[in-house]
Subunit: 346 residues, 2 copies
């Protein structure tokens, strides 16, 4: 019986069982450039299997100076936007034998910085930060410092959002998508728009709102700024903002919500207030989250390849050698017209 501190089977146990040195056991099991003779290799593997050996990854990490950990920071994993992206990350991670550690930042930039520090302590090889950047520069500076510290340890940071940090980035084309959506909606006959804009400080929300406004302007449609309602970038935020918009009793024939989650909340608000969607009011969102498949009326939106964005983020980091300059991949959206915005005859 091997002496036990933790009760775990160690490589020493395996080596003893197989009657070889520690070094040989290590080489046989976890591979290396060095060759191990056929017979010994098999003896070691048999011993490992017999003892049900699982290598201590922490010890490996300390010895090798690097890990197979990818840290994933999302605003809220229960939000389908983030869980789709996470799915993409996880898929690639599994294929590359990497472990994913997950944290919710709850849309708080300070927590994001804090968690990134934790990932640095963990010596994560990759950190993926998903979600909109903010416009406040104090937060951005703190993040920039922490990114630098993280990369100094040999890790790679990837942002899935706006391209404004010196790190690999999967940029989602918010402005162009929103702009195109606006154009199409005008083409369908809508003229009087309300916007559920999300928080002004979130760049994603801001870009989408601006892109949409641009599109309207380019089509010669006026936007009444007082019909632009700010609120949280969440389902509840959408609900609340929609209620506010309804209370204004403004003449609006179509509402654009800066993301689908808000749009879905807004649709429920409409239902609760006996607004007949889509007859009296058009509605459009952004992202094409999977939830939409079961929402009725089906929601017009801009489809973003979310799962792909997550997968791409990790691939970007894994392909890079440490020290390589940051790379940026831009993913475009595609407007999808559905039942929630039937053609209007003005």
């Amino acid at each position: 019986m091997p002496e036990q501190r933790t009760g775990a089977v160690t490589l020493t146990d395996v080596a003893r069982e197989a009657g070889v040195s520690l070094a040989t056991a290590s080489r046989a099991i976890n591979g290396s450039t060095r060759q191990v003779g056929e017979e010994l290799r098999e003896r070691v593997l048999a011993a490992a299997h017999k003892l049900n050996y699982a290598a201590n990854t922490q010890a490996q990490a300390v010895a090798k100076g690097r890990t197979n950990i990818v840290g994933l920071l999302v605003h809220d994993i229960a939000d389908p936007y983030f869980s789709s992206i996470a799915t993409g990350v996880i898929r690639v991670a599994e294929a590359s034998q990497m472990l994913v550690t997950l944290a919710n930042t709850e849309r708080n930039p300070a927590r994001e910085v804090e968690h990134l520090g934790a990932l640095r302590g963990q010596h994560s090889r990759v950190a993926i930060l998903v979600g909109s950047r903010v416009s406040e520069s104090a937060e951005a500076d703190a993040l920039r410092r922490e990114i630098a510290a993280f990369e100094r340890t040999g890790g790679r940071v990837v942002m899935v959002s706006q391209d404004l940090h010196p790190a690999d980035t999967v940029a989602l084309e918010n402005r162009a998508g929103a702009r195109e959506l606006a154009t199409e909606l005008v083409g369908l006959g809508y003229r009087h728009f309300g916007i559920l804009a999300g928080p002004g400080t979130l760049l994603t929300a801001h870009d989408r709102t601006e892109g949409f406004a641009d599109g309207l302007a380019a089509s010669g449609v006026d936007l009444d700024q007082s019909n632009v309602i700010h609120g949280d970038f969440t389902r509840d935020g959408g609900y609340t903002a929609m209620v506010q918009l309804l209370e204004r009793e403004a003449e609006v024939d179509c509402v654009f919500a800066a993301n689908d989650v808000m749009a879905v909340g807004a649709m429920t608000a409409c239902r609760d207030h006996d607004v007949d969607l889509p007859r009296t009011l058009g509605m459009a969102g952004f992202d094409d989250i999977t939830t939409l498949r079961d929402i009725s009326p089906s929601l017009t939106t801009v489809r973003m390849p979310l799962e792909r964005a997550g997968a791409l983020a990790l691939q970007l980091a894994l392909d890079a050698d440490p020290g390589d300059p940051p790379r940026v991949r831009t993913l475009a959206g595609e407007v999808v017209i559905r039942q929630s915005t039937p053609p209007r005859s003005p």
Copy 2:
């Protein structure tokens, strides 16, 4: 300039900067039973802050023989059932300074075992396995072995599902909830039921289906077994099963789906086939996932405290000392009648 292998700031750097020994620096920063003099402690902390030191958690883990990692194994993080539970786990983990590593098992018991082995290699202090157990005993045996191996390393396993392994368990009361739901639906006037049952091998699906059938029997209502359709425990599975049920053209006035995700898919199938919910057909689900807030007609279901189940799972593990006998907490559901099952006059 400290000599650099990885470029990371190490405790040695901090100690040198503060002019103290490694031991003192360790005691000052990461705490211990030992006291460190006020002046030295402050010098060390100042040095750590100045160098932006982040302790190498891998090295700590190796030295201490344990980690602050909780491994979370879910079937599919993009499924709101699992992401709600995950949210609960993450919340408690953050409060306890633990890191969460996440893996999707894709409803594959073999992958579950494999991942649990990986968590053992990671020396996770806690492993939380979320999701239905299966009835095949070969898989169950493999899992049992791996659980034993995991606990031998000092870790704690928690199941969120059925209580049939020697591990801490948060058991969700599927049978009673489904039974009560059946009773209430009969009370509302429904008599001819269809069931979208999920896979027969998944115990959760099985328990809910049986509980529901029990409830019908107790209320003196017959269930036509040919109206029990099996399918995947997913949104698509619900959609497909519902289509099959519709094609049978059986006389059914209410459908029970074994979980909400299936029910939501089934509702969409109904819409696509011009079935007028809830006028011509009642529909009920199970779980009360958050998505339901925005589904119309609102869905009758059995509310399970999912986020709480996740939180409880981790608490259970953290409260326990290694070697304590497994504890079981049972969480009951609560029937919630909504628009999808209006009263019927038979």
